[in-house]
């Protein structure tokens, strides 16, 4: 549709990506065909191709990027009214962990074909660290850290927060006490000492 506006285009794209996600949840990554995706999205195969000329591979990559953006929107909303650094990190860890666990399509991809995630994660790794660090910096500055240290601390904290969100290790990020233990210990322990 040459006359389609940008928004209409976006809408179709989003519908195709949501359809892809549903198809993967129903059939798995390997057995999801373009036909399945078109059926789930309620459009023709030709429309899918017009939006994603690269076919299945391009769709899967776009889906990762799409879910990834939604994840950060959700995370941003969850912490926007927090007032202290401790609150931001605590709540952010819990919400982000839930989002990772509950995103069924991510769990399926991780089980079946985790290598699909790599191109996006590699490309976005650095910008993502920078975005989290920039988000945390004002809270760190408000928390008695020397101005010269704020950027460095923000970078370190962003790295560690990402690490725990993806792999909680010995901590239970569904449990507030465990999260608090982590935040007051490893993550903000240096701050609490008024370093």
């Amino acid at each position: 549709m040459s006359g389609a506006t940008g928004t209409a285009r976006e809408e179709v794209r989003e519908r195709i990506l949501t359809g892809t996600s549903r198809a993967i949840c129903a059939h798995g990554v390997r057995r999801t065909s373009l036909e399945e995706i078109a059926r789930e999205a309620g459009c023709s195969r030709a429309t899918v191709y017009r939006h994603f000329p690269g076919g299945r591979d391009q769709l899967l990559e776009a889906l990762v990027a799409f879910e990834y953006r939604r994840f950060f929107v959700r995370l941003g909303r969850a912490v926007e009214d927090a007032t202290t650094l401790e609150e931001v990190v605590e709540r952010g860890l819990m919400v982000a962990h839930r989002a990772v666990v509950e995103l069924e399509v991510l769990q399926i991809v991780l089980r079946e074909q985790p290598e699909l995630l790599e191109p996006t994660l590699v490309r976005t790794g650095r910008p993502m660290l920078r975005a989290i660090a920039e988000f945390l910096a004002p809270y760190i500055a408000a928390d008695s850290v020397r101005p010269a240290e704020v950027a460095a601390y923000a970078e370190f904290l962003a790295r560690m927060v990402l690490s725990y969100i993806s792999s909680p290790g010995r901590f239970d990020l569904d449990d507030r006490a465990s999260v608090r233990d982590l935040v007051r210990g490893e993550l903000l322990g240096g701050l609490a000492r008024g370093a």
Partner: protein, 201 residues
Amino acid sequence: MASTATRARVVDAALACLATDGLRRTTVDDIAAAAGISRATLYRAFPGGRETILAAVVDDQTDRLLGAVGAASDASDDLRGALVAGLVAAAAFVIGHRAVERLMFDEPATLLTHLEFERFDRVLATLSSRAAPLLARFLDAAAAERAAEFATRVAVSYLLQPSDEVDLLEPAEVARLVDRFVLPGVEAAATSGETISTKLS
């Protein structure tokens, strides 16, 4: 009977093949040829074939990594020194590793998928339980495991995503990182978990 010596020879040969040819192109025949043994002898030592040989290479390299980190941290007489020396030794091991370099170039996803999500939880559990004894001189067992896990995350983060601020091969820069962020976190964790360090500081 497969001797330990044969197994060790196969593991060394496999590592050499991985460094020159990469993972995908390394076959059992290549490994046997590099080890200077027959296919039959190789299969007697590793009845499971390629997969079990590769698993043995990973185990062996993990031992060597922990060995290097242990030697470096044992030479320090305080927690701070042990953390700094351990991080630098881990970085030196990984950065100079030809098979790792080759893997990152040819098929990074194979390695990277083990450094995220659930798979990384498993790697973390293995590495931190094995590195924890290195910190047992300074922290009680629970705090040492926590500290080892934290330090492992720091090493992996800075190795995967190099920082403009910190070069993990530079002891002075790592010392600054440890002083400012890592050690305060480890100490706060040791106290918050009511696992107060009782040994020397």
